[in-house]
């Protein structure tokens, strides 16, 4: 076990974990941040997506020891009041069915729009195809990304 100092959602955290513990489990087990989801553990489904220095990153395969001073943002820290343009668009379009994958979808979309404020359909598909939605909400995800791009 080692002590890690982490910058998450603008706050400093100190927590003890084994060095190879994926960030996902540090967030969920150590810090009580349950918004970031486990889906596959091998960076295939995107449910665990967080931002590392603003870039969409799979937290299920990112060892806590590799984070260093990087700034982590989770769904809980994407906005203060749940009013990030992507969150608002997700509500407006009513994207969620079961909702389990949506935190990861939102984090991926938010990073995309930061990088590319007006993405084309092909760019949306290329990026968002990394995230699985088992309920099949893909049409509304795509629509919501476009709504968010307009309102940003």
């Amino acid at each position: 076990m080692a002590l890690f100092k982490l910058q998450i959602n603008g706050k400093s955290y100190q927590t003890e974990a084994e060095a190879d513990t994926p960030l996902l489990w540090v967030l969920r087990d150590n810090l009580g941040l349950f918004g970031t989801k486990y889906g596959c553990g091998i960076a295939q489904c995107g449910a665990c997506t967080v931002h590392l220095n603003g870039e969409a990153t799979r937290s299920c395969t990112l060892p806590v020891s590799a984070i260093g001073t990087s700034k982590v943002t989770t769904i809980e820290g994407l906005s203060k009041n749940g009013d990030h343009p992507v969150q608002k668009a997700w509500d407006e379009v009513d994207v969620a069915q079961c909702g389990y994958c949506q935190a990861g979808q939102i984090m991926t979309a938010a990073a995309l729009l930061k990088r590319k404020p007006q993405p084309t359909d092909a760019e949306i598909e290329a990026t968002m195809s990394g995230n699985i939605c088992r309920c099949g909400t893909y049409h509304r995800i795509k629509e919501a990304v476009k709504v968010a791009a307009k309102t940003k």
Binding site: M1, A17, E18, D20, T21, P22, W25, R28, D29, N30, G32, L33, F34, G35, T36, K37, Y38, G39, C40, G41, I42, Q44, C45, A47, T74, I75, E76, L78, G82, Q87, W90, D91, D94, A96, Q97, C98, G99, Y100, C101, Q102, A103, I106, I124, E125, A126, M128, S129, G130, N131, I132, C133, R134, C135, G136, T137, Y138, H139, R140, I141, K142
Partner: protein
């Protein structure tokens, strides 16, 4: 009604309970804490109140509606309260929705399955709202000393137009509780619905979109342990386990044997996962060790076996085939599939000396409670089950295995434990969709009339893989449907639209082939059969011919069937779970490969409760049906699944979904269910469109393995 004046609350509830059909609603008038819509939700029913409760109204006018059925992504937590609020004439803005706990004394059928929640509860929910509305109206009339028939309700108010007075439901709540309970309350005319049929957002959006811990896997209790199990593959049992290394690892509290599985219990998920990987387990053979190659052989043996069970027999099939001018014959095969809900199986259990507490995602919480009670030798009322939102279910969570496992682990280590499955555990852990192979034969006479029809369903752990009374049964004079099943150690269970999720593909693809052989348009061919079934029905008919024709006509109209150039269209229609869905797929060939561009879907599920949720269910079903028909496949080598995670088992992704155009037949039929019926027809809509585009029939799922997808240069 007149004899039931001035009851207190308790009597009201007793009376309501005695009127038959179960208790419909109760008011928790004692709740004076100001629950404000949009504020964090909190408990409403005081624990001491021992009566049913669908809704309460506080003096501020906030209406809390309890939604009792498990929410698995089908939108029931939003749809149920819409129905109550409609008949109550509530202002949706002032409605707060809460998940009710498991309590089958208060709520009936707390199950998510069979597309049955709305059809089953529709009437009860309406009566619940209407009864409350009636009493509020009577209370206002009494206060104003006017006739109730001169009063109306709208958006949370009772109005008296003549005197231009109005009172809010909140102001009236206490008085209303003392009003007589209507024995037979009048429900709204369907044309007067204001909320039902509108577009209403998922009530859990705020929590979902900000990462609130809504799901079973998010449940946390101070001091609880994490458990994971290593389970045997199919046909194996536990021989020995060496857990020394695992036990010595940091954070590990215990390693225990549960039946033929080994459970590792510890303080954190990652520690437990690593320790589980460090277990040294020897398994031994305990049954047939089956491989997919064995199944392919077994299917062929079963299809040629004389030992089938006849499910339906009309007329004289042998003679019909003897006299046939043309015989069409085809076989279709579908593999085992895992359910793959994105939230893997998990459950929290805390077994104490004389009670047990369970929390987790279950489509059948009552079964989990009763089985836990039986296992522990407790009365069921000593077992509580808290329902969480579920990260999908697709039928997997109709089983209680994973909840019972958590109970066993908690008991064994004498501590509160959340047992979770890794994705690998989930994918290799069984209870799959059964694998099946069908043989169809059709006899056409010289005028291309369908005079004979044979279907044999050969399955592995599916029981009867046919639905013998479904279309085209009833439309064919000479018909034989039989089935045969192989018992395998590979466990199976219901998977969204059980049986029909593969049967519909096979049947509707075959009928396309028969239409082709008859030289008829695939839609016209089916319509002629339906007309025949209507005019001269053969045997029992369990589907509504007019509703089926209705969805066919709507799909044809919306898709421009047969009139389009530049795309190849494929047609499919199916009746399942009480509802009717016709779909038309559109395919183009790009770079030598068929690409699915669009699916038109026309559904008759009766009255649509929530446009937003209903559209989601149809789109989700189409994506689910297409995705699994295209890519889904679990294969086995000596009882061990070959696919273990999403790197070698493919789920459909955004870049692979076609546009889906959703339409509903507008009618006033009571809701007939929508969680599943749009899935079954999707596979054949795709396969038939691909045939139209390429001339190649698809007989086996997953489609992606067919030659046609390898591309032609």
């Amino acid at each position: 009604m007149s004899s039931q004046l001035n009851h207190n609350r308790r009597n009201f509830l007793k009376i309501a309970a005695a009127t038959g059909g179960g208790l419909l609603l109760g008011f928790n008038w004692t709740d004076s804490e100001a629950a404000v819509a949009g504020a964090p939700l909190k408990g409403v029913a005081a624990p001491a109140i021992d009566f049913n409760s669908y809704l309460s109204i506080n003096p501020q006018g906030v209406i809390t509606i309890l939604s009792p059925n498990p929410e698995v992504g089908q939108g029931i937590k939003t749809a149920f309260p819409i129905i109550v609020a409609e008949e109550l004439d509530a202002d949706w803005k002032n409605v707060v929705v809460e998940q009710a706990p498991l309590d089958t004394q208060k709520f009936e059928r707390q199950v998510a399955g069979g597309s049955g929640s709305i059809p089953h509860s529709w009437k009860r929910l309406r009566v619940a709202g209407a009864t409350a509305r009636h009493m509020l109206l009577e209370a206002a009339a009494k206060r104003w000393n006017v006739s109730a028939s001169d009063c109306t309700t709208s958006k949370g108010f009772v109005l008296h137009a003549a005197s231009k007075r109005k009172l809010s439901y909140g102001e009236l709540a206490t008085e209303a509780s003392k009003m007589p309970v209507p024995a037979d309350v009048k429900l709204k005319e369907i044309k007067d619905f204001k909320l039902i049929g509108q577009t209403i957002k998922n009530v859990d959006n705020p929590g979902i979109l900000t990462g609130k811990p809504l799901f079973g896997l998010d449940f946390h209790r101070e001091g609880m342990l994490i458990g994971m199990l290593q389970r045997p593959a199919f046909g194996y049992k536990l021989k020995s386990v060496d857990s020394a290394a695992a036990k010595a690892m940091p954070g590990i509290v215990n390693v225990v044997t549960i039946n033929n599985s080994v459970a590792v219990v510890g303080k954190s998920t990652w520690q437990v996962k690593k320790a589980k990987d460090a277990l040294k387990i020897e398994w031994e053979k305990d049954g047939n060790l089956e491989s997919t190659s064995d199944h392919n052989r077994i299917f062929k043996e079963m299809l040629d076996s004389p030992n089938t069970t006849v499910r339906r027999k009309d007329g004289d099939v042998e003679t019909a085939f003897k006299n046939a001018a043309k015989v069409v014959k085809a076989e279709y095969q579908c593999p085992f599939l895992p359910h793959s809900p994105l939230e893997p199986m998990n459950f929290f259990a805390h077994v104490k000396a004389d009670s047990a507490e369970l929390v987790g995602p279950s489509q059948t919480p009552e079964a989990a409670r009763n089985q836990t009670a039986k296992l522990l030798g407790l009365p069921p009322e000593k077992v509580s089950v808290q329902l969480t939102r579920m990260g999908g279910g697709f039928g997997r969570r109709l089983n209680t295995d994973y909840a019972i496992e958590a109970v066993q682990v908690s008991k064994a280590v004498n501590a509160p434990v959340k047992v979770m499955w890794t994705r690998e555990d989930d994918m290799t852990g069984g209870i799959y969709r059964p694998a099946v192979r069908y043989r169809f034969e059709a006899a056409l006479d010289a005028q291309n009339n369908l005079i004979g029809y044979k279907l044999r369903g050969a399955s592995i752990n599916a029981g009867n893989a046919t639905r013998e009374d479904n279309f085209p049964s009833g439309a064919v004079e000479n018909l034989l449907i039989d089935s045969i099943d192989h018992k395998s150690p590979i466990t199976t269970g219901p998977w969204r639209a059980p049986i029909t999720n593969f049967l519909a593909f096979a049947e509707q693809a075959f009928l396309d082939e028969v239409a082709q052989a008859a030289g008829k348009d695939p839609v016209q061919f089916r319509l002629e059969l339906l007309d025949k079934a209507k005019q001269k029905p053969v045997g029992k008919i369990t589907y509504d011919i007019d509703r089926m024709k209705g969805v066919i006509q709507l799909a044809v109209e919306k898709s421009g069937w047969g009139k389009k150039t530049g795309v190849s269209q494929g047609f499919s229609v199916y009746f399942s779970h009480r509802s009717y869905v016709a779909q038309i797929g559109e395919v183009v060939v790009e770079k030598g490969k068929p690409v699915l561009k669009k699916v038109y879907s026309a559904a008759d599920c009766g009255i649509v409760i929530n446009q937003s949720g209903a559209q989601q269910q149809v789109r989700g079903c189409v994506v689910d049906g297409i995705g699994h028909a295209m890519y889904g496949n679990i294969t086995f080598k000596d009882g061990i699944p070959d696919q273990k995670n999403f790197n070698d088992y493919k789920l459909i992704r955004m870049n692979e979904v076609p546009e889906v155009d959703v339409h509903f037949v507008q009618n006033e039929i009571e809701p007939t269910g929508l969680g599943e019926p749009s899935l079954p027809p999707a596979g054949a809509a795709v396969a038939n469109a691909i045939f139209k585009a390429t001339g190649k029939r698809l007989y086996n799922q997953p489609f992606v393995e067919a030659e046609v997808f390898k591309g032609v240069s």
